[in-house]
């Protein structure tokens, strides 16, 4: 027998009160811990995928949608833009790199993205097997795609039109076979979830389909008379923003892409470029600003849940206090008995504190399990919808702080009952029984 064993026995003996306190605390800790992990991992994912992408050029629509669709691949694209029209931006001297993205097909719900080699280079992708795509209908696939679909080097597959068509949708399948020529190592970036192919593959696969203008007749622009011509520049002070050289016409000017991921050469790009396309059917969206806006909106919901969780945690501390306080009334005689057997005041104080701390620790452990369970359910839903997952085994500094705060809360909640036990008048208590 020792004081820890005695504290555990006492907790078990009053299991109903203890269970209520532990459950309340577990729900509070679990909810806050889950929010901490969701926020941490979402921010990490956002930052990892946003790396060095300063702007995204795409069809007009919701700028947030443009970012979500083209940087994170979790939303439908806003539409397509002509390569020729986009040159006013992509060939602008203020732009260092412009990575084209063209997509609209999938294989077993994994997006097939037409692009160039800069896309994989941008994310520092390394090949696990094979090589980068070289020619049309060659595909280099992300690690998660390879794992989920079972595709191996040399395998061929047919794409399905659309971004979320079910497997085996024969009606919308394209006729050309893709060949897997490479598999990337897992990187934790969006490319893990993509099938990359040359942009020409997408153009070829979609030949004969209506272009962006006819597909979106409601969108009009000043440039629809000449696809390759840059938008007319306004006179006045804006004239100085005109590029030094007009973009050169090319053979693919009439082709379409979904978006360009842009890296700027100078901060001036953010000021100059939006004005160049303000009368076109294109838009430039800034990932950092859009994601910040999303985080703020998302944050309101998170703050509400967090506030509820904090209230639950507060209630659990009250429950621990009430439980110990009530048990003290019942156990006053037992504590006096312990004192009569030689237990010091500090020993009974420690016993009550220990009971509170063990209850708190149990709440923290069960809360941790609940948070992982919640995260696992959330992860599974997110995976089904967007192929994104949360790391269940993750642990953050925020959680460590939460554990510390909770233990301090538990200690404070049982401080008054412990002090009452410390101040107990043994003789009076034993005489009154």
């Amino acid at each position: 027998m020792n004081i820890v064993k005695l504290a555990i026995k006492n907790i078990k003996h009053q299991w109903l009160d203890s269970a209520l306190s532990i459950l309340l605390l577990a729900f509070g800790v679990g909810a806050i811990s889950m929010l901490i992990l969701v926020e941490k991992q979402t921010t990490e994912q956002f930052n990892k995928n946003i790396q060095d992408i300063d702007m995204v050029l795409g069809a007009k629509g919701s700028p947030l949608q443009l970012i979500l669709a083209n940087v994170y691949h979790v939303d439908a694209p806003t539409g397509n833009i002509k390569v020729g029209e986009a040159k006013i931006i992509t060939q602008n001297p203020t732009i260092e790199t412009a990575i084209p993205l063209a997509y609209g097909d999938n294989f077993q719900q994994w997006r097939i993205v037409g692009t160039d080699k800069n896309y994989a280079l941008h994310y520092g992708m390394k090949l696990q097997q094979g090589q980068e795509f070289q020619s049309e209908y060659e595909a280099t696939i992300g690690a998660e795609v390879a794992q989920a679909t079972g595709l191996k080097l040399g395998d061929t597959f047919l794409s399905t039109h659309g971004l979320d068509q079910e497997q085996g949708d024969e009606e919308h399948a394209h006729n050309h076979n893709y060949t897997v020529v490479g598999i990337y190592e897992k990187s934790g970036t969006v490319i893990d979830k993509l099938i990359l192919t040359p942009v020409e593959t997408i153009w070829h696969a979609h030949e004969g389909e209506p272009d962006a203008e006819s597909a979106n007749p409601e969108i009009t622009s000043d440039t629809n008379t000449a696809a390759t011509a840059p938008p007319i520049m306004k006179k006045g002070p804006m004239m100085m923003l005109r590029p030094a050289h007009a973009p050169k016409a090319g053979p693919n000017d009439n082709k379409e892409v979904t978006a360009y991921l842009l890296k700027k050469r100078t901060p001036m790009a953010q000021i100059i470029l939006p004005n160049l396309i303000k009368d076109s059917k294109m838009q430039l969206a800034l990932p950092a600003i859009e994601i910040n806006r999303l985080s703020q909106n998302f944050g309101i919901g998170m703050d509400t849940i967090q506030a509820i969780a904090i209230v639950i945690m507060g209630l659990s501390f009250v429950s621990i206090f009430v439980s110990l306080y009530n048990s003290l009334k019942k156990r006053k005689y037992e504590l006096a008995l312990m004192r009569s057997m030689g237990a010091s005041k500090w020993k009974v104080f420690s016993l009550i504190q220990l009971e509170g701390i063990i209850t708190t620790c149990l709440g923290i452990v069960i809360g941790g399990v609940l948070s992982r369970l919640g995260l696992s359910i959330l992860s599974s839903q997110l995976n089904n919808s967007f192929h994104y997952q949360f790391q269940i085994s993750d642990f953050s500094l925020g959680e460590l702080i939460l554990v510390g705060i909770t233990i301090v809360g538990g200690v404070l909640a049982c401080a008054i009952p412990a002090y009452q036990a410390y101040k107990l008048d043994i003789s009076k208590t034993l005489a009154n029984e």
């Binding site: 037992e334 004192r339 010091s344 003789s427």
Partner: protein, 193 residues
């Protein structure tokens, strides 16, 4: 203010303090156990007074040198018979010898109930366990407060016999404060309050 007569109790001696309800028997026992301090006078244990000791040192002294038996069966309800018997050993920092507990319980035919929750024992059984608990850590003094008041004649006889014999066997002095005259024949050294 309650006045108590002077008395001296030798090693291994037994003393009965008889008095009616409200005369201060329990107060006297609590003074003897060091659970409260006298406003006047002095109690010496082997010529040592507890008064100058700190509260914590008094607790240590009591834990090592005294065993107390209460009127009602006082136990820690969350523990088993064995665990309750281990408490004085734990609190006095002595080796928690389970075999000794078994051996002592076998004297009162309760060794088969050693793992039972204490609440499952009858009042008579509990009082016998409480007597075992008061001597298990080898105290010099055993103090008993109305140990037989709640018991019928048969159980009272058994407790009187047990308490007197077990304290003798363990070389402990015994002080019983009670209004129960069934003790008269067991202890000759009587002080009336």
């Amino acid at each position: 203010m309650i006045h108590f007569p002077d008395f001296v109790l030798g090693t291994n001696e037994h003393c009965l303090i008889l008095g009616e309800s409200g005369c201060g028997k329990t107060t006297l026992l609590h003074l003897l156990a060091g659970l409260r301090t006298p406003s006047q006078g002095e109690i010496l244990y082997n010529n040592q007074s507890l008064d100058p000791l700190s509260s914590s040192d008094r607790d240590i002294f009591r834990g090592k040198n005294m065993g107390v038996v209460f009127q009602s069966s006082a136990f820690i309800s969350s523990l088993s018979v064995l665990e309750n018997l281990m408490m004085p050993l734990m609190l006095s920092g002595k080796i928690q010898d389970e075999n000794k507990a078994k051996e002592l319980l076998s004297i009162v035919n309760l060794d088969h109930k050693i793992q039972k929750p204490i609440g499952e024992l009858s009042i008579g059984e509990q009082q016998r366990v409480s007597i075992i608990r008061s001597v298990i850590h080898g105290p010099k003094w055993v103090l008993a407060d109305e140990p037989t008041s709640a018991l019928d004649n048969k159980n009272a006889e058994s407790v009187i016999e047990l308490l007197t014999s077990i304290t003798r066997a363990n070389n402990a002095s015994l002080i019983v404060v009670t209004h129960d005259h069934r003790w008269n024949q067991a202890i000759s050294h009587t002080i009336k309050l």
